[in-house]
């Protein structure tokens, strides 16, 4: 069995969902996504047993492009994140009614397919194709099933699409240029290239444009908050939970090893970008009146810290970044789901209209509280492991970086708790708030369980990713 099985399952699932019709679509989609999760766990076991699960086939002769999928620890952990979050996201949408549900769920599975492909591809062009392909479903999901005023939504979504496409086209030029040098798009051939300082400079920034827009890193973040707000919650979860991790993953997999000299030269600037994102995101989040927008800016702050970690270029920082990617994926999906639960009952996202929910819905209140605490990196949660590792490695470079980056925890605690207070506490709200239903509980409990489990016991993930990150770091340090 090799990794293309997983891609086939997701792709077939997407078509099956479409043809299952509106009524069955959600269930078929859930079934296939669970099946994909099972497959990726099975793949993990096979990989751990030391067998080869990669896949290589020639596709186009000239220019030589191959269908090459390589699974190592880093790819697999991202794959697990994708396949674990997809069923959760699909299941979380069960309370909602969607028009044309078959297309909706088919697009979700198609997006999972494209994102898994991005994490697996080891041929530059194949990777680029998956990368772009994942953009189309989210565009339609946000455009058609989004909320709020149509005209505004249209503007936000088109801006998002053009921004990300623009960034990735520069990445394409970089790949084509690298192809001229190496005569191959395969990652191992590209790693062997010895590029001059000047070439690395250009290629680095071409990649950076693509990734900085996707992640997003300040100052390329302007599309983010609006799209998160306007997209349906499922779309927001896909975007913030998985899709932006594509950018971070690509930094580790493609950008840093290909352009190590440039990466080292710009290290302080890049960490500066990341930390600027942390501070800016936190401060803007303080002033948000819309729950989803607040979460969007908080996500910007956390992702800024991950980016800073990824660009720090020590083994600890890379490990911390990957851990925090996983942790952030889960916690952000949980938080957006909590916002969705409130929206289902109150039909508003304005924080001022909420309040006094705790007395009516104690179960929800406690689970939401745990998520909020996890997102501000309370010890024993997964996020603590990630953020602490990143901050520690930042402090090795320069104490100031760690101090400034640490504001994510302080400011985060402030705006998240303030939000919690305004949303959940206070006098009993006149509007009725029914406590969480069974399947809402299930989604939240799974997320919380994951966060605590890996918070207390992150070793399995560490063991999975460390050899792979070691190798990446060796590639970076090879060419001095």
């Amino acid at each position: 069995m090799n990794v293309s099985v997983l891609l086939i399952i997701l792709l077939v699932g997407s078509f099956a969902t479409y043809f299952a019709g509106d009524k069955l679509a959600s269930k078929v989609a859930l079934l296939f996504s669970l099946f994909a999760l099972g497959t990726s766990i099975a793949l993990l076991n096979i990989y751990n047993a030391g067998e080869n699960i990669s896949c290589f086939k020639f596709w186009i002769n000239n220019p030589s492009i191959s269908y090459s999928l390589t699974a190592d620890g880093l790819s697999l952990i991202m794959l697990l994140l994708t396949t674990a979050l997809t069923p959760l996201i699909i299941y979380s949408s069960f309370g909602n009614e969607y028009k044309n549900a078959k297309s909706f769920y088919a697009l979700i599975l198609f997006m999972a397919f494209a994102m898994s492909g991005t994490f697996l591809a080891s041929d530059g062009l194949l990777y680029y194709i998956f990368w772009e392909l994942s953009l189309i479903p989210i565009y339609f999901i946000a455009l058609i099933w989004g909320n709020g005023d149509t005209e505004e939504r249209k503007k936000a979504v088109v801006k998002f699409f053009i921004y990300t496409l623009a960034g990735s086209l520069f990445m394409l030029i970089a790949f084509v240029y690298l192809y001229q040098k190496a005569g191959s798009f395969l990652i191992q051939d590209l790693y062997k290239l010895e590029l001059s300082r000047m070439e690395q400079f250009w290629i680095f920034w071409a990649f950076f444009l693509a990734y900085a827009i996707k992640i997003p890193i300040i100052p390329f973040h302007t599309w983010q908050a609006k799209v998160y707000q306007k997209a349906p919650t499922v779309g927001t979860m896909l975007l913030s939970g998985i899709m932006l991790k594509m950018g971070l993953y690509s930094v580790l997999r493609w950008q840093l090893p290909l352009t190590p000299i440039a990466a080292r030269t710009y290290l302080p600037i890049l960490i500066g970008f990341g930390i600027a994102g942390v501070i800016y995101g936190s401060i803007v989040a303080l002033r948000q009146k819309d729950l989803k927008k607040l979460l969007a800016y908080s996500s910007l702050a956390h992702v800024g810290l991950i980016a800073a970690g990824a660009y720090t270029l020590t083994i600890d920082s890379l490990r911390g970044a990957v851990l925090q990617m996983i942790a952030h994926g889960f916690v952000v999906v949980g938080l957006f789901f909590a916002a969705e639960i409130v929206y289902r009952r109150y039909e508003t996202r304005v924080i001022a209209d909420m309040g006094g929910i705790r007395t009516q819905a104690p179960k929800f209140a406690s689970m939401f509280m745990i998520l909020v605490l996890a997102s501000v990196a309370l010890p024993t949660t997964f996020n603590f492991v990630g953020e602490f590792t990143v901050l520690y490695s930042l402090s090795q470079i320069n104490l100031w970086f760690a101090l400034l980056g640490g504001t994510t925890i302080i400011l985060g605690a402030y705006y998240m708790l303030k939000m919690y207070q305004q949303v959940m506490l206070g006098e009993t709200n006149a509007k009725v708030f029914a406590d969480v239903t069974f399947h809402e509980t299930l989604v939240l409990v799974i997320i919380i369980a994951v966060l605590f489990f890996f918070g207390l016991y992150p070793r399995p993930i560490n063991e999975l990713i460390t050899p792979c990150l070691d190798q990446i770091l060796r590639t970076i340090n090879k060419i001095q």
Partner: protein
Amino acid sequence: MNTLIAIIGLGILCLILEIFDARKAIIPIVVIGLLAVLGLDITEFNSPNAYYNNMIIVGKFSSAFSALFIILTIFLVSLGHKFYENHQTKISDFVAIKIFLLAGAVAMVSFGNLAMFFLGIEVLSIALYVLASSNRLSIKSNEAGLKYFLMGSFASGIILFGICLIYGAMGSFDVTEISELSRSAELPIWFPIGIVLVFIGMLFKIAAVPFHFWAPDVYEGSPALTTALMSTLAKVVAIATLYKLVKTMNADISPSFQLIIVIISIASMTVGNIMALRQVNVKRMLAFSGISHAGFMLMTLLSTVKSSGTLLYYTSAYALAGIAAFSVILYVCKTKENEDITNFQGLGKNNPLMAAILTASLLSMAGIPIFSGFFAKLFLFNQTIQAGFIALVIVAVINSIISVGYYFKLILAMYTKEPNEAKIPTPAVIYAVAVISIVLNIALGLFPSFVLDLLG
């Protein structure tokens, strides 16, 4: 050569069928006939040959492109089935003109002599003038036909003048002879002037900036099916011919000539895209998009030694996406007076399949992966960077981003607006053409080697 004769025979057959009052059978017979011609053309692929003292040279290049032209004509003729419903009496004329146009197109890519080249151009252009004004009760169609005729005959005149100067300089119409003579050290001044004039005339035919002014008006005014023909078949024919001309006449292009191509290519892409952003009429928008695609296709002239496969791939991808898009436009605007974007509102709800096909074809033109338009651009960029024009590629990429803006305007209208009216029934032929052409487009994207390696 046999292909050309067979096509002309088919055209005459088409006219004869009218005498026997078999109008209903014309389109099926012609489609079957064209499929047979396609088979004939494919058999000629591996047997290069020259006919009539090098008047016509059939080789891989000409038969591959002829095959593409024939496939496009099959699509265009099939679409005509419903389009000329109200003009049943004239259907044989319309179909016959298209077949003669195809004959001109095939002559244009298989020329070995400048006389033949000019004959091909004229056959093609005259057929197009007639088709542009074929809706004779519509003032817009008349205007389009007249405008196209006036501008087109100027261009033909310029080409003819250029050919005369080349003859004056070289004493021959034969392309290979001219090419050999042009390698000698001393060239009369008439030769480069002649080349430039022919080049200008051809740029007019492919509607590259600054010779593009006729295109938007003619595209808008002509009947939609003619616009489909002009933006797919006619454009592809012209660029293929120009490519062959440049490749055979001056195999090693001088740097100054390359610079001119770079400038025209950048101007076409940029002007076409920026003007397209402001259009509300879909036909006009696609006219400007065609201008920008002409700019992309001109990039193949920078490395003529290896880029014929890339050109074939790009033109196939572009033309197939164009056919798919135009069949949806024909369906949507059949009962409408114009082709404004507002007519497309709510198509996503009314007819999801048609909306999906139009979306796919626009995504292909914009160059989004898995559709062949992406690979076309990729191969083109790869080739151009190899030839050392990285700045041109960066401009092209920026233009690709701009183009997303107007392609998505149409997609947005289809999916975010409410439909204006109830669903109109779709003829099966339009479905068939749209589905087949978009499937071919995606298949080209999945297996690009099939076309790309054809011309080695």
